[in-house]
C-alpha cells in the first residue's frame, strides 16, 4: 500500500504579530515549520504503517521554495519512507488551483497511490481547498475533516468526520484522499534511526520539465485568483474598557450588551 502525505512549510505564527503602533505585520526571524495539520496527516499515515510495516510505504511531498526540503527531512525523521520536493521558479505564486494541479501531476508521476492524506488546512492561507481540489483533479473520492480512520476491509476505509453539528461515518473505498484533524493522533517524535537515514536521503527535486508541465499552467500564470490588495485588519478600533467596581462593571457590560441586542439577554 502506497500512501502519499502532502505537507507544506508555513511561517511560524507565534512570530507573526501586529505591531501595535504601525498596525503592520512584524516578523522576528525567519522561522518556518511544518504546517501543524500536516503533522497529523503524517501521523495518520504512520499509524497505518504501524499496522503492517513491511507492506506500507509512505511518500511525503511538498511544493515550495528550495528550503521547503526541511519539512521533508523532518517527515523522514519521523518515519516517512520517501520524499519529493516540487520546486521551480515557475511554481511561485500558485493559488489553490495551481497548487492542486501541480501536486496532481506529481502524484500521477509517482504511479500507483492508494491513499493521499492532507492536513485540514494550511495555517498561512487557511483555505482548506487543496485537498478537495487535488482529489477532484485525480478523480478520487475524498472526505474532509476526518477525525478517525479504520479499515473495514483491506481496501475499504471506515472514517469518522466532523461536521458543524456532530459527526458522520462514511465508508470510503481506496484509492481515496482524506484531510485530517488533530484527533487522528498525537504526532510522534523523531526517531534516532530515521533521523540518521533522513540525513543521508537525497530528496529528488522535480520542476516543470520533470512533470512535463508548461510554464503557463503552473504558479502565478496558472492561477485564477489574484491578490490585488493586502491590508491590516481594523482590530478593536472601538475597544472600551469597562471601569468601576466589579458590580458596576457587570451592570455596565450587561446594559451595553442588551442595548446591542445580544440574543438571550
Amino acid at each position: 500500500m502506497h500512501i502519499v502525505v502532502c505537507v507544506k512549510q508555513v511561517p511560524e505564527t507565534q512570530n507573526v504579530k501586529i505591531d501595535p503602533t504601525t498596525n503592520t505585520l512584524v516578523r522576528q526571524g525567519v522561522a518556518s515549520m511544518m504546517n501543524p495539520f500536516d503533522r497529523f496527516a503524517l501521523e495518520a499515515a504512520l499509524r497505518i504503517k504501524d499496522m503492517d510495516r513491511d507492506n506500507v510505504n509512505i511518500t511525503v511531498i511538498t511544493m515550495g521554495p528550495p528550503q521547503a526540503k526541511e519539512v521533508l527531512i523532518d517527515a523522514l525523521s519521523r518515519g516517512a519512507d520517501d520524499a519529493v520536493l516540487l520546486s521551480d521558479q515557475a511554481f511561485a505564486g500558485a493559488d489553490t488551483w495551481a497548487t492542486s494541479y501541480t501536486l496532481a501531476s506529481a502524484i500521477r508521476k509517482l504511479g500507483s497511490v492508494d491513499l493521499i492524506i492532507c492536513g485540514k488546512q494550511a495555517i498561512d492561507g487557511d483555505t482548506a481547498q487543496v485537498g478537495p481540489e487535488l482529489a477532484t483533479l485525480l478523480d478520487l473520492p475524498y472526505a474532509t475533516y476526518v477525525s478517525r480512520i479504520e479499515f473495514l476491509e483491506p481496501r475499504v476505509l471506515k472514517i469518522t468526520r466532523q461536521t458543524d453539528e456532530g459527526t458522520a461515518v462514511w465508508k470510503v473505498p481506496l484509492p481515496a484522499l482524506l484531510t485530517v484533524l488533530k484527533d487522528v493522533g498525537i504526532p510522534r517524535v523523531r526517531s534516532y534511526r530515521a533521523t540518521l537515514r533522513a540525513r543521508r536521503y537525497e530528496v529528488p527535486i522535480w520542476g516543470i520539465s520533470d512533470l512535463r508541465l508548461s510554464k503557463e499552467s503552473v504558479g502565478l500564470k496558472g492561477s485564477f485568483t489574484q491578490v490585488i490588495k493586502v491590508f491590516s485588519p481594523q482590530r478593536a478600533k472601538d475597544r472600551t474598557f469597562i471601569e468601576g467596581s466589579v458590580s458596576e462593571q457587570a451592570a455596565r457590560l450587561y446594559e451595553l450588551l442588551k442595548k446591542q441586542g445580544v440574543p438571550g439577554l
Binding site: 511561517p11 505564527t13 478537495p132 492561477s223 490585488i228 491590516s232 478593536a236 466589579v246 462593571q249
Partner: protein, 396 residues
C-alpha cells in the same frame, strides 16, 4: 516570479524587509531587492507607503472563450434538518445588493431530497429564481454527488458568480465544484463587492487573521467564493415575494458517489453547538479547575448559548477537546464571544476574531486578549462572572 520593485519610487526605507514573512527582501545600493525566496504573498505591497511594490499578474491574460455568456449571481442554499441554514439568507441578502449593482438576476440552488417549501424563504430573502434538484441520492450530503450536480448546473446555466457559505459542508464540496469547472475559488471571505470593471472583489483574512487580502478572479468563470457565516446581515425583503421555481432533472450518473454514508449523528449538549450558537462563553486556564466551568455553563444556559474553551483549558482537563476554539480547534463567529480567563494567544484569536462582539474578562490588563476585544473587563473572573450571572437571571 517575485514581487516587483519600482526603483524610481523605492526610497530604501527598509519597511518591507521587516514585514516579509520569508525574509526575501534585502537592501542593495539603497533599493529594496527581492530574492527567489519570495512567495508572492503580497504583504510587502501594503507596507510600502511609496507604492513602490507590486505583484505580477495572474493567468495568461486570456479570458474564457465563452466569457460573455456567463451572467447572473448564484447562491448555494444550504439546509439542515429541513430548514435553510442562516448563512444562505445572509449571502442572499448580500448577493441581492451585488446583483442590483450589476443589474443581473439572482438565483439560488437547492439540492436535496423532499425539500418541498424550503424555496419560499429563498425568494423572500432576494432570489429571483430557485433551481431545485430533488433526488434520493441527495438525502445525505456527500462531496461527490453534491459537487457533481452543482458543477453540472453551473455549466448549463453559466452564472458569472457562485457563492456558498464557508460551513463545513461548503468548505468541503465547493472546492470540488471549482476544480470541475476549472476556475478560481476564494475561501472564507468576510466581504464582497463589485469593482468598476464588474468583477467580484473578495476580501478575506490570511496569516491567521493578521492581514486581510482582497482578491479577484479575472480569468475564471464563474467567480467563486465561500463566505463566513455571520459576517453579513440577513435581511428579509418581504413576507411573500414571488419568483421562478425551476425543478431541474440532471443525468442520473451525476448522483453516483463512491462513498457510502453509514451514520450521521448530531451531538447534543453545550460542546458541539459552539459553531452554531449566537453566544459563546469560553473559558481558559484562568478558571483554575474543571468545576469552575460550571459557572460558564450556567451563564451559557441562561442565554441559550454554548461553552467554548482555550487549548490551555482543554490541556488542563477543564473542558472537552470538542469545545476548543482556535487554530487547532473550531472557528466560531457568534454574535457575542466572551473570553473568560483566556490570555488571547494568536492561535486562540484566529478561531474567534470573526465574532460580532468580543468581551474579554481577565485580571491582567496586559493580556493580549484585550487587543482584540470590543469590551474589556479587567477583573477577577470569580467575582465578575457571578455578578454578571445575577444580572442575567434578574433580566430574564
Amino acid at each position: 516570479m517575485k514581487a516587483l520593485i519600482d526603483e524610481n519610487l523605492c526610497t530604501g526605507c527598509g519597511t518591507c524587509i521587516d514585514v516579509c514573512p520569508v525574509g526575501a527582501i534585502t537592501l542593495s545600493e539603497g533599493k529594496a531587492k527581492v530574492s527567489d525566496e519570495c512567495t508572492l504573498c503580497g504583504i510587502c505591497v501594503d507596507s510600502c507607503e511609496f507604492g513602490a511594490i507590486s505583484l505580477p499578474k495572474v493567468g495568461t491574460g486570456e479570458l474564457p472563450r465563452d466569457y460573455e455568456t456567463y451572467r447572473g449571481i448564484w447562491v448555494y442554499a444550504e439546509w439542515r434538518h429541513g430548514t435553510i441554514h442562516r448563512v444562505s439568507y445572509e449571502l442572499l441578502s448580500k448577493a441581492r445588493q451585488l446583483a442590483d449593482k450589476k443589474h443581473v438576476p439572482l438565483a439560488s440552488v437547492l439540492l436535496g431530497y423532499r425539500l418541498n417549501g424550503l424555496e419560499r424563504d429563498l425568494f423572500n430573502y432576494g432570489a429571483d429564481i430557485v433551481y431545485v434538484v430533488d433526488h434520493p441520492s441527495l438525502a445525505y450530503f456527500t462531496d461527490e454527488a453534491y459537487g457533481n450536480v452543482l458543477a453540472y448546473l453551473a455549466k448549463e446555466y453559466r452564472p458569472e458568480i457562485l457563492l456558498a457559505g464557508a460551513t463545513s459542508i461548503g468548505r468541503s464540496f465547493i472546492p470540488r465544484v471549482a476544480a470541475l469547472l476549472k476556475t478560481g475559488l476564494t475561501a472564507d471571505c468576510t466581504d464582497l463587492d463589485i469593482n468598476e470593471e464588474g468583477l467580484l472583489v473578495q476580501t478575506r483574512p490570511a496569516f491567521g487573521g493578521n492581514i486581510m487580502a482582497s482578491i479577484l478572479c479575472p480569468y475564471g468563470r464563474p467567480q467563486m467564493a465561500t463566505v463566513r457565516p455571520r459576517v453579513m446581515e440577513a435581511c428579509r425583503l418581504a413576507e411573500t415575494r414571488s419568483g421562478v421555481l425551476e425543478r431541474v432533472s440532471v443525468p442520473e450518473e451525476l448522483f453516483k458517489s463512491r462513498i457510502e454514508v453509514l451514520e450521521e449523528t448530531v451531538c447534543e449538549g453545550p460542546s458541539a453547538s459552539i459553531v452554531e450558537a449566537d453566544v459563546v462563553i469560553s473559558g481558559g486556564r484562568g478558571l483554575g479547575r474543571k468545576e469552575n466551568f460550571r459557572m460558564l455553563e450556567e451563564l451559557a444556559r441562561l442565554v441559550n448559548g454554548a461553552v467554548g474553551a482555550s487549548r490551555g483549558a482543554v490541556e488542563s482537563g477543564f473542558a472537552d477537546p470538542s469545545q476548543q476554539v482556535g487554530q487547532t480547534g473550531r472557528t466560531v463567529a457568534p454574535v457575542l464571544y466572551m473570553a473568560v480567563g483566556i490570555s488571547g494567544a494568536i492561535q486562540h484569536v484566529v478561531g474567534m476574531q470573526g465574532s460580532r462582539i468580543i468581551v474579554a474578562v481577565n485580571k491582567d490588563p496586559q493580556a493580549p486578549i484585550f487587543n482584540v476585544c470590543h469590551y474589556g473587563v479587567v477583573a477577577d473572573l470569580f467575582e465578575f462572572i457571578p455578578e454578571f450571572i445575577k444580572l442575567v437571571k434578574g433580566g430574564c
